[in-house]
């Protein structure tokens, strides 16, 4: 098999190699139950990265996801008592709305998504601070279990969280590969001008991409909120850069049109392995961040398929 043919497979090869390295250094890493927990813990991050994939796939970025998830943790906690399971609807609507506004500002007002989504994130943060009264809130355990207990059970050893992630991945994959919307996304990501000249409503496609990103961020926030049984305006901090990293390491470059949601699944797992490697390999506390950065550079260098980065590398 030639080098060129292996290239597209680099992301998962990298993943397998990393798993093997960690596992060989510390065989307890291979404990299936432990691995299962590790994987199900990365689910909120994964869902967020999944949404981010859509924004990056069209060549944009969504920096509002973390603040949006913060907002949703607050919404979920504040309104759980009042609306029960319907807070999920409110959360998703909120995510959709903020995504639509980001998309609108980007496409119609020509503000680069880097700035528009960052700014919309600030707006979401303000809303979260306002709603939460700037306090950490927690959910009533009974109410939580009544409405969302199903999110965290186990069926036949499979954590429900993981099942949710798989369902969402399948939905996202279906959206990306099997629907007109997914095809339009690809066209916009690979050749926006050609998409316009083919009569696609490019603005609508882009706005929808940001909206989907927002919806997934909201789901991630909801899941996280239920998991932690509470919410505040900083609860989801730390998600943003990792979500971006997960998408990029999976092999969806910022140039758009390449990669996709399955790549993001692999990318998230890579991030998870690198992160837990810190624990398993007992990396010194003060060295962890540097090691993370260096491994990240190596992983990205390995996983991006440069032949598909058309034109210049910027």
């Amino acid at each position: 098999m030639s080098f060129e043919r292996i290239k597209p497979h680099f992301p998962w090869i990298t993943l397998v190699v990393l798993i093997l390295i960690v596992g060989i250094a510390n065989p307890s890493f291979f404990d299936p139950a432990g691995l299962l927990t590790l994987v199900s813990d990365v689910v909120p991050l994964f869902i967020m990265a999944l949404g981010m994939t859509f924004a990056i796939y069209i060549g944009g970025i969504d920096l509002s996801v973390q603040q949006l998830a913060n907002l949703v943790t607050v919404i979920a906690t504040v309104y759980l008592a009042e609306f029960g399971i319907a807070v999920a609807v409110i959360a998703i609507v909120a995510g959709f709305a903020i995504g639509v506004i980001s998309g609108f500002v980007t496409t119609r007002l020509y503000v680069p998504s880097f700035v528009s989504t960052l700014a919309m994130g600030f707006v979401a943060l303000s809303a979260a601070k306002f709603l939460s009264g700037q306090r950490a809130l927690y959910m009533d355990a009974e109410l939580r279990d009544a409405s969302f207990g199903w999110m965290f059970g186990n069926t036949a050893g499979i954590p429900h969280e993981l099942a949710i992630a798989v369902v969402l991945l399948v939905v996202a994959w279906f959206l990306q590969t099997r629907t007109t919307f997914g095809r339009a996304l690809k066209a916009v990501g690979s050749g926006e001008l050609a998409a316009i000249a083919s009569g696609l409503n490019v603005d609508r496609v882009k706005i929808l991409a940001f909206a989907i990103s927002g919806v997934f961020a909201a789901i991630a926030g909801l899941l996280f909120s239920v998991k932690l049984s509470g919410g505040d305006a900083n609860l989801a901090n730390g998600f943003l850069l990792l979500a971006i990293v997960a998408v990029l390491v999976g092999g969806t470059p910022l140039t758009g049109g390449v990669g996709g949601v399955v790549n993001t699944a692999i990318g998230t797992l890579i991030v998870m392995v690198i992160r837990s490697a810190m624990v398993y390999l007992e990396i010194d506390a003060t060295q962890q961040q540097m090691v993370f950065g260096i491994v990240l550079i190596a992983a990205i260098a390995l996983t991006i398929d440069r032949s598909k980065l058309r034109g210049v590398v910027k």
């Binding site: 404990d31 813990d41 909120s225 919410g231 505040d232 810190m278 624990v279």
Partner: protein
Amino acid sequence: MSFIKKFIEQEKISRRNLLLASAYGISGAAAMRMFGPSPVQAATYADPTIAWSYRNRTNPYWNEIVSGGEAFVESLGKPKDSLTHLINEGSSEKSLADVKALLAKTNGELALAIDTNDAPNCRPVVEACAGAGAYVSTLWNKTDDLHPWDFGDNYVSHMTWSDEKPAEQTARILLEAIGGKGGVVHLGGIASNNPAIERLQGLKNALKDYPDVELLDAQPADWDTQKANQIMSSFITRYGDEITGVHCANDTIGYGVLEALRAEGMSVPIVTYDGNPQAVELVAKGDILATVFTNPHWGGGVTAALAYHAATGAFKPSEEPNEHREFYGPTIMITPEDAVEFKAAYLDNVPTYDWKDFWGPSNGQILYK
């Protein structure tokens, strides 16, 4: 020859069955432990892994905490670096994920001391530890509905500091120093953090007795020196000479405030919190009127010690009274008069603590409002 072939076939099959069975055995047993109900009689461990999970290493407060943890580990005759560090970088998600990874790695043979970064994160961390048979002691962040005694032995203890009273005391020092009139500003921590709320409340409580002092403004500076610096300079613009005193939620905020005042050539009394070595020096010099020492070194050590000794079975948490499971940490007020003395006693030579005296310096059971 066919019987030989048959024999080999049979051998293959039984070997495969054996492998399958053992594989199931491992995962099945582990799964039982991970997801089954928490054991009634908690298992104890001869040599559990000791770990500290905290926010970051860039804040001197957490360095003090860690030094306590390391001192405790050394007191067991182990090397310093046998303490496992989990750093969450201010992310609850990472905090929880790291704990789970460590639980998986150690198979639950773990004594964990942790600040869960955000109160809501405490429940899943504790539940995960209890589920895995590990022992956990928490510091600072915990929601009010969560209690160690609801988890048998595995949730060993929770320690926090009642910041309201000490913050009120520093506020009184400040208010006295400005002669009971004028205006003060407060620069707080991350608004939703419990200590930030309590420390502001302390100031408000004190102000009730000083009707001539106005609380001009209170803004969160997120425990960040640079942010505090910028907010303070904006305060100076808005209130100018009306500001006669500054109440800061911690020392790092205080540094930023001091520099903002210095840039203006202003000198306004300020009080801070935490009692970091540098702040204590500034108190000794008179730049800061007062700070509150919460003895993070002891807090970091004893939190790890509680988890460890519970894990080894040296004491049984469920047999301890509630005030031994949820308690306040010690606070020591530092003012210019005693700063030098304090520095000599606590900072220049770190006292050697008896890490088995879990509750000696503590400050009573936690009260909920």
